[in-house]
């Protein structure tokens, strides 16, 4: 069972390594452009304040990591299930169906971590944000990174098992666009208190907790959501989407 799990992981990492250049382009390009405009160009034009970049950095890292893990799980899986049926070959390996599903979630988490390792130094250097990362902050950063990647890998599995390949583009537009804009990536949640109904409504969005988590780990001096709420929500959403994702995966895998 463990050997099979590792072999499945080995296969996925081999494929990921082969496609590394596309992966780097996918994860790196958008944050690069974003940090260039918002962190370099606009402050110099005097349109936004210099301090805004510090507010932006955690959000950019959060978006890159969560979207990476979600895509890493959802895109291949939706094609596998709906089209090529390649997943059948993995389902015939001597491991439970949940084992196959959990391996996919783990791959999503690993890809997100790699995306984080690329984006964090990139954004940090370009924006010139002053970060003082002590031991506590690094532990927080690791915890938030792992929990957020896990949450969105599991969410990717729910999406992939719920939609047909033809709809995946639509899902990414219709579901992800509001999640990103209402996800507290470009503004801290605490500042939303001037629009109370909005501040409470966005709590339904799991992306809020990921971005706020990165905020409290990277820029603890800035306004951020309370630590316990971030961890409880990230863990709760992760467990819920994992449970739902495994259930739906099982249903799709078995006739």
């Amino acid at each position: 069972m463990t050997a099979t799990f590792i072999a499945l992981l080995h296969r996925d990492l081999r494929v990921a390594r082969r496609e590394l250049q596309y992966f780097l382009l996918r994860v790196g390009l958008q944050p690069l452009l974003f940090t260039f405009i918002f962190g370099f160009v606009m402050p110099r034009l005097g349109i936004i304040q210099q301090g805004y970049t510090a507010m932006l950095l955690p959000g950019i890292l959060g978006l890159s990591m969560t979207l990476s893990s979600m895509q890493a799980v959802a895109l291949p899986l939706v094609i596998d299930f709906g089209w090529t049926k390649e997943i059948e070959d993995r389902l015939l390996a001597p491991i439970s169906i949940s084992g196959v599903a959990l391996e996919k979630i783990l791959v999503g988490i690993l890809q997100a971590i790699i995306a984080g390792l690329v984006v964090l130094p990139l954004a940090w250097l370009l924006m010139g944000v002053h970060l003082s990362l002590g031991f506590i902050e690094i532990v927080q950063l690791l915890l938030v990174a792992i929990l957020s990647s896990w949450l969105f890998a599991a969410f990717g599995m729910v999406v992939a098992t719920a939609v047909e390949p033809q709809q995946i583009g639509l899902v990414f537009n219709v579901l992800l666009a509001p999640m990103i804009f209402f996800g507290c990536a470009y503004y801290p949640w605490a500042t939303l208190r001037v629009i109370p109904w909005f501040q409470y409504a966005v709590l339904l969005n799991p992306l809020v907790y990921a971005n706020e988590g990165f905020r409290l780990a990277l820029t603890p001096a800035m306004p951020h959501m309370s630590t316990w709420l971030v961890y409880i929500a990230l863990s709760g959403f992760s467990l819920f989407f994992t449970w739902l994702g495994l259930k739906k995966f099982q249903k799709r895998a078995l006739d």
Partner: protein
């Protein structure tokens, strides 16, 4: 003989996927057993329940009734243990398109915990036997139908399974590739591998299988060796006549009285005559009909075959 596969009153009903859909009763209680080392065939037209049966036996489909055991292990209760024992060649091309052919073989064995040196050795032998060496380090997107099929079988054998399942392995292959596929499968069986295949090709079932189960509409209609099955068709020979107009009851009686005729089945403008010999009978039948002023527009004589048996059992041609 020890039993490799035991199927008992197996049932599968697919629930409708939409509210307006209807439930599909794919299997309505079929039972059979396959001995170790046997070459067993499931013969039936498309939609008969063959793929569902193979799906249940290979842990991919949950039965809604009855039981299926592989080497004594219940497939629904312990699918992981069953997966270790079986190799599966599905009907669709589900080869891993992100990998090269060599990687497909090696990773498959790795999933099954085959040690590295053994994986490499197995892959070498199978690549050679299955004539895949030329393009083994390419991805499989450009492979021909025959190569895809051979690679799928090679992959299924990489972990040295006790039982090999093949779902319509020669569908879509040209006659030459089909022949070489038959040779290959016979060779594997001679070496001791238990094989269960599904097919709607009678010649294939006849050539390869020691025993054949004929299924249609989710029910098992007959189960025996090809020779016995053919013998079980009344008379064995089949003469089919097509006439202008409806077949009258009086013709049927007259045809029945001809010597050698075992059974006569009218069907609108056709009449099927089952007989224990063909010599002279066609001429006699034609004479009888033309004396009555009936015009025969087509006549066909068939030797004893599984096709005749299927026609006899279901009233339909297997070729659909």
């Amino acid at each position: 003989m020890e039993t490799a596969i035991a199927v008992e009153d197996l049932k599968k009903t697919y629930q409708p996927k939409t509210r307006k859909g209807v439930e599909v009763r794919a299997l309505e209680g079929i039972s059979f057993q396959v001995s170790r080392g046997e070459f067993f065939g499931l013969l039936g037209p498309n939609g008969a329940g063959k793929t569902t049966t193979i799906g249940i036996l290979t842990t991919r489909v949950m039965p809604t009734g009855g039981q299926a055991r592989i080497e004594g292990i219940d497939v629904a209760h312990n699918p992981v243990a069953v997966k270790r024992l079986i190799g599966v060649v599905p009907q669709v091309n589900n080869l891993d398109r992100s990998l090269t052919a060599r990687e497909i073989l090696q990773f498959h064995a790795e999933y099954f915990g085959v040690p590295k040196h053994q994986r490499e050795q197995n892959a070498r032998q199978l690549v050679e036997r299955f004539e895949l060496a030329d393009r083994i380090d390419e991805k499989v997107t450009g492979y021909s139908g025959g190569m895809v099929q051979r690679l799928k079988i090679a992959r299924a054998l990489m972990h040295d399974p006790a039982i090999l399942f093949l779902d319509e392995p020669t569908t879509g292959l040209d006659p030459q590739s089909r022949r070489s596929m038959w040779d290959l499968l016979s060779e594997l069986n001679v070496k001791g591998l238990t094989i269960l295949l599904t097919t709607h090709n009678m010649e294939e079932a006849d050539q390869l299988c020691r025993r054949i189960a004929i299924i249609d509409h989710g029910k098992l209609l007959a189960l025996d060796s090809p020779a016995q099955l053919k013998r079980s068709v009344p008379g064995g020979y089949l003469i089919e006549l097509q006439i202008r107009g409806e077949v009258k009851e009086s013709f049927v009686g007259a045809l029945r009285s001809l010597s050698g005729v075992v059974d006569v089945k009218p069907d609108h403008d056709r009449v099927r005559i089952y007989a224990d010999r063909a010599e002279g009978l066609l001429a006699n039948a034609m004479r009888l009909l033309s004396n009555d002023g009936v015009m025969v527009t087509d006549a066909h004589v068939a030797e004893p075959s599984l096709e005749n048996l299927f026609l006899h059992l279901t009233g339909r041609s297997l070729k659909g």
